[in-house]
């Protein structure tokens, strides 16, 4: 009974919906990154690492310049750099894409941990360096529920949804998009028609760097304003699951990200619900929730969605 009341309390609380959007945003960015890369046939499990770098770099440059947007800009640049490494190993050198991705995750964890002390003077986490202010939409502020749920949000949340549209448009409405889909499905066919397979794949992977680093930047300067070691906490992998669940389609990935964001927000709200009075020591159990949901979803949906045929296969002329 008490659980039931707690559920009603959560679902009628506008803050819960804002939390859902906030939790979904990094996933939307990163899962779009996954789509961009895999639609051209390159598996990119380095999303987790690129996000972590994005989170760190944006904090560093926000701290240096005092402007969080400049922080985001540098996060994107570094994200492209990381993605370029992955592209270089897996496209140019036809390396094992999963192993290369693993290396980049480790690299990001190493580099961010390594630079904490020299830059911020202590390991663990940085000071609050400032964040991107939320913007109010006057029209929505009139209604209390709308105001508290979607009336005042980080502009990066809007960017995430805009990115969904942009990704969809690029992939389905442009010449480049047609070539991306062709290269992911049958690179040899595209090659014989004079499509530069490597260039198209580089584009896909570099875009995944842009997207994933935006997702990471949102976690730090978009949401909390500082950086903690390993703060991405597996979101890069949840984003991969969202991409799979979304059938390698930007719009599908967005819905899946919202589902995972919902489950994360739900787990958070449940454990802090005043009606349930969850002991602080029990909270880790609630943190398992999004991962269990992801696991079930992956197990349930794989095979029912279809990856690009050449996904993960290096192309050799």
């Amino acid at each position: 009974m008490r659980l039931f009341l707690a559920l009603i309390d959560i679902f009628t609380n506008p803050a819960f919906y804002k939390l859902t959007l906030t939790a979904a945003t990094p996933l939307i960015f990163a899962s779009l990154g996954g789509v961009f890369s895999e639609i051209t046939g390159v598996v990119n499990i380095a999303l987790e690492g690129i996000m972590l770098m994005g989170a760190f770099v944006s904090v560093v440059f926000t701290w240096l310049t005092g402007n969080a947007w400049i922080g985001v800009l540098f996060a994107i640049l570094v994200g492209i750099g990381m993605a370029w490494l992955h592209a270089w190993a897996s496209i140019t050198w036809r390396g094992n894409q999963i192993v290369s991705g693993t290396a980049l995750i480790l690299l990001a964890q190493g580099v961010t941990g390594f630079l904490m002390e020299p830059i911020f003077g202590r390991p663990g986490q940085t000071d609050i360096v400032g964040k991107i202010p939320e913007v109010k939409i006057p029209l929505l502020m009139k209604n209390r529920f709308l105001a508290q749920s979607i009336g005042e949000l980080s502009p990066m949340i809007y960017m995430a949804f805009a990115s969904v549209f942009i990704a969809w448009f690029i992939i389905y409405k442009t010449k480049l998009g047609l070539r991306m889909r062709a290269v992911g499905e049958n690179p040899e066919a595209a090659d014989t028609l004079g499509v530069n397979v490597y260039a198209v794949r580089y584009f896909g992977v570099l875009m995944s760097g842009v997207m994933a680093s935006l997702g990471g930047a949102f976690l730090s300067v978009g949401e909390v304003g500082n950086f903690r070691e390993l703060m991405t906490g597996g979101r890069g992998f949840i984003a991969l699951a969202a991409m799979i669940l979304g059938n390698w389609n930007p719009v599908g990935a967005m819905w899946a990200s919202l589902l995972f964001g919902f489950s994360e927000a739900f787990a958070n709200q449940l454990q802090s619900s005043p009606l349930l009075r969850v002991a602080s020591t029990t909270k880790p159990l609630f943190n398992m929730f999004p991962f269990i949901v992801t696991l079930i979803v992956i197990a349930g949906f794989i095979g029912k969605t279809r990856p690009p045929a050449a996904d993960g296969v290096p192309y050799e002329k």
Binding site: T174, K175, R181, E185, N186, E188, A189, L193, G194, A309
Partner: protein, 510 residues
Amino acid sequence: MEKAVEMIQIVKRFPQVVANDHVDLTVLKGEIHAIVGENGAGKTTLMNQLYGLLKPDSGEIRIFGKKVNFKGPRDAILMGIGMVHQHFMLVNNLTVAENVVLGSEAGIGPLFDLKSARKKVSELSKRYGLHVDVDAKIEDLPVGMQQRVEILKVLYRGAEILILDEPTAVLTPQETEELFETMFRLRENGKTIIFISHKLNEVMRVSDRITVMRQGKVTGVLNKSETDPRQIARLMVGRDVVFTVEKTPARPNGVVLKVENLHVKDYRNLEAVKGVSFEVRAGEIYAIAGVAGNGQTELVEALTGLRKPVSGRVYFLGKDITHATPRELREMGMGHIPEDRHKYGLILQFPAYYNVILGRHHRPPFANGEFLCHSKILSFAENLLSRFDVRPNNVRMLGANFSGGNQQKLVIAREIGLEPKLMVVSQPTRGLDVGATEFVHKTLIQLRDSGVAILLVSMELDEVLSLADRIAVMYNGQIMGEVEPNAVSIEEIGLMMAGHRLEEIRGRVA
């Protein structure tokens, strides 16, 4: 007459082999020029250089008299060259229109204009009589249609010179005839066609001139009107070829394999085999002919335990094996020579001595309890390799390092070494040269004569006709009719391959 293509003293070396050894080729404008030769003669390598996919090590290429130096297919396309590859180069999840325009899309700036692409493609298909639904996805089209898309792709790019690499390999006789009509229509429109083939009757039917290749060299340039198939064959093979396989009539015994109303689904969960029934007797070769992709693969997979049938029954020596596993079937004496030896037949990273025990690796004499007996495995492998003349005779060499013919010998040796009562054979000579093909055919006949029941699935009509004692033709997951090779005409088989039932055909004739 104007020369469309001149390739002069082309040399192309690969690590193991000289694929093109000072090759000269001249193709005149507006002719259909055939290039014939065995597998591995260097035809495809030569064409890949003409199309910019490979760079010659030395030599010169001229197109309409102009010396060219292609950096990639894009350059070749710009010079008006188009290629229809042996394996279709189509993107399965895109539509016909999208496939045709890919790489030279219409549209303003970066935008892709699907509407104008559809319009252009349907205009083109009307002009050359290549009818196809522009909005269909490739994966939903039959093979003959897919080939039209390939030709449309080439024409869309304004090709004047069309290279067709073994275009009839996957077609029914009727579809082949339609293709030839298309080729003649293109020639009337002033296009130049290079037709690569090893089927001499087709070459004689369509070409104006013929260049013959053998082992990377040109062995002759002939006018069709002044030559005959025997001369071409001699130039191709370097000796007189026996066109038929020698064999005595079969002396079949009891039924070994009995299939009753079998239904099987493919990987996309669509029904691929739709109620097939037949029997194979000991001491006969029962062949299933048909165009690739009509359910043969799924049928073989279901019979050999690699795919679960949806319904129906299969009996092997009277025992119900409908749901038996590959291991149980092997224990019972079913051998299987799979159609794709790289995918199913061999573990390329394993040495030969491991490959020849695959399937029996878990039991004596090769395993004693949980442990492998390496000494017995090695001596068995050495024996087998000598018996089947696998070269090099090195049991420690990795599967990947053997040539195609010797890889196939490894597979055949392993499966015959099993001393099977039934041998399921799928596409046994695909990609093999003449010598290896002859060896395979002879081995199969010997096996038959020793009393083994053989189920042969082949897309090569010649192979079916020369080996089989009885032939069934499969179309769209069903058997169109069962005939004996000396009591049927090519036309009848062709009609069955195109989906006409035997009763229907003979009924109409009568």
